[in-house]
Symmetry: C2
Subunit: 377 residues, 2 copies
């Protein structure tokens, strides 16, 4: 799955230490696929997935919009060539002074999920458009979705009425079905909720214009995933079902789906050992772990595809762990990971599909290990 | 619990954004307490707990030794004024080229827990002293201890015999009872194991000299903890019980116990909201979370003491969460955290006992948020 360009880069440059290599051609292909799959939706790239300047510049050039979680991310998007009209401040938890900074930068679209956030925006970004995030159950997502973001639909109605009363533009509704969502029909129930919020506001003379359908589009790890086209068809079907001929403006916010499969991490086997002569499971220690960029292995949630130079040899289940002194820095233990019996200290492995949610999760310097380096080619 | 010096600093300097402030006077007091509690043990500060140069310089000046997890940490310890004789390379998972670098820097003491690691050290640091880490059960520790480090005692015997055969100095045994260990007798079983390893090697003519009793010494969070003196007495009792009049050299490696209570994080309430009108639990969002330095709230393991300007008002249980768009960035939800009903957006809170395992765990820039800043005063 790792591209020839990435393999060439690693062969030629031979970087020392763990690193992520991202192939921009794949990002471009992903963007085109999303545009084809949902031609009537605006694409807002979730910058948090991978804010590498080269990626942001490419996407800005392709006409992407940007979903930003902080003022720093807004500044990165603007620096990459996006106009402020193409930026959404999508975090529902913002300091009022950060809202004011975004407003000063020209941003006019903000996420909310509470009355309190609406008040901040009314004060710091008067006249801005807001969309209210609605809770979904996240069932079928491989990365846990908590109740952290969103409110129940009835409260969303109240929040948007309140925004209207405070002079803001009540623009729409958002939801997130959960990251790495492999169920095609996951958007359906949330779109049904969105329609109800539209109706209740219309009854009060407030006409919403937009549904932000969030991210959730997966990357292929070990299991096959549906195509962007299949997601597009399912989502379009649900939009028709719930909104009929009055389909509103829609937004999607792919992050993992845009860059996940564009990157691979090169890592090295530091140690292969056993804990006792009786153990039937070996321990394989890599030079990257939970605190070096693989945070999504938390609770063994994301299970990456790992390519070794000895694939094809006899395999046996191994516990896979990172290099730090933290006992929690274990990647796969409850469900051991099959690795070649012949795997040897010094072997280089490729952890595939790691273009999203790796570099930025990396710890500053835990155990003195430097943060994950990244090359965008 | 936060010192007057830290409170003064925050009042005077009023730093913007979340930050850690560490009071060196407390670190000095902790060092003196450990030295008094275990006068016959050498103190090796676990650099990973907090590698701030000011802390390392203070401890080097006080005569501390240093437990280092990487070459970068070794270089920090040397730069702070330690000699290489006062450094232990305590990570059992090392690249051979890093062992060679440590050897070149003059380090002569290395941790191992496998035959494979012994071979690397024999090649890259010939003649070095090694100690083998033995697995313990970690019962009673508040931060999970996995089987990641160490091997069973019988394998430790084999590993140390092998080290001897390869021309290394088989110097001793190490163990770690688990971080934030609040049971005084936790060291007893491990010391009994250590004694058995000593005996089995003596039968083969190899005379170990040292027991590295690791860290595990706690910081006071919400519950009271025993004093350093109480740990010293319990450990000394176990040493006497298992080694009689032949107590070997001993090492302790306090990290959390040395710096945890020396620091406090200043954070800000960004949002207080509910998810529905029926919810009886409010959500309190801070400008710091799991990816900004509070990684030890993983699985709600470490429960910090949080001081607010409205303590004394009526309290109610809250879900406490961080500022990032990651739904996993929730600090306390399973067991909600009591906070004042009057707590308001913009309030500054103090997260106490955060001098250890915070700055270095902080993510590079997740969501565009800068890493945790730190002031050592």
């Amino acid at each position: 799955m790792t591209t020839a360009r990435i393999l060439d880069f690693l062969r030629t440059r031979r970087p020392d230490g763990p690193c992520l290599v991202v192939d921009l051609d794949v990002v471009r292909d992903n963007f085109v696929s999303f545009r084809k799959a949902l031609p009537d939706s605006s694409i807002y790239y979730a910058v948090k997935a991978n804010p590498a300047p080269e990626i942001l510049r490419l996407l800005a050039g392709l006409g992407s919009n940007f979903d930003c979680a902080s003022v720093a991310e807004i500044e990165m998007a603007l620096k990459a060539g996006a106009t402020s009209a193409r930026v959404s401040y999508g975090n529902t938890i913002k300091k009022e002074r950060d809202i004011a900074r975004a407003h000063a930068l020209g941003v006019t679209l903000f996420a909310v999920d509470s009355h309190e956030e609406v008040e901040k925006i009314a004060r710091a970004a008067p006249g801005a458009r807001v969309f209210c995030r609605v809770l979904t159950d996240g069932e079928g997502a491989e990365w846990p979705l908590s109740r952290k973001f969103g409110c129940v639909p009835q409260m969303a109605v109240d929040v948007l009425v309140y925004a209207h009363q405070l002079g803001l533009v009540s623009h729409g509704v958002s939801f997130h079905v959960g990251s790495q969502m492999t169920k095609l029909d996951a958007w359906d129930a949330a779109l049904s909720d969105a329609r109800r919020v539209f109706d209740k506001l219309a009854q009060q003379g407030i006409h919403l214009k937009m549904v932000n359908m969030g991210g959730g589009f997966p990357t292929r790890y070990l299991k096959d995933i549906p195509t962007a086209q299949a997601y597009g068809q399912a989502i379009h079907g649900s939009l028709r079902k719930h909104f009929g001929n009055n389909i509103p403006e829609t937004i999607i916010e792919p992050g993992r789906g845009m860059v996940g499969n564009a990157g691979a991490i090169k890592a090295e086997v530091v140690l292969v050992s056993r804990k006792s002569d009786e153990d039937d499971v070996r321990w394989v220690f890599l030079d990257i772990g939970k605190f070096g960029g693989l945070a999504e292995t938390m609770d063994e949630a994301i299970r990456y595809s790992i390519v070794t130079p000895r694939d094809g040899d006899e395999m046996e289940p191994c516990v896979l762990a990172g290099p730090t002194c933290d006992s929690a820095d274990v990647l796969y233990e409850k469900t051991p990971y099959p690795m070649p019996v012949s795997l040897t200290i010094g072997d280089e492995v490729l952890i595939e599909g790691t273009g999203a949610y790796t570099t930025t999760y990396s710890a500053v310097a835990f155990n003195g290990f430097e943060p994950l380096r990244s090359y965008v080619i």
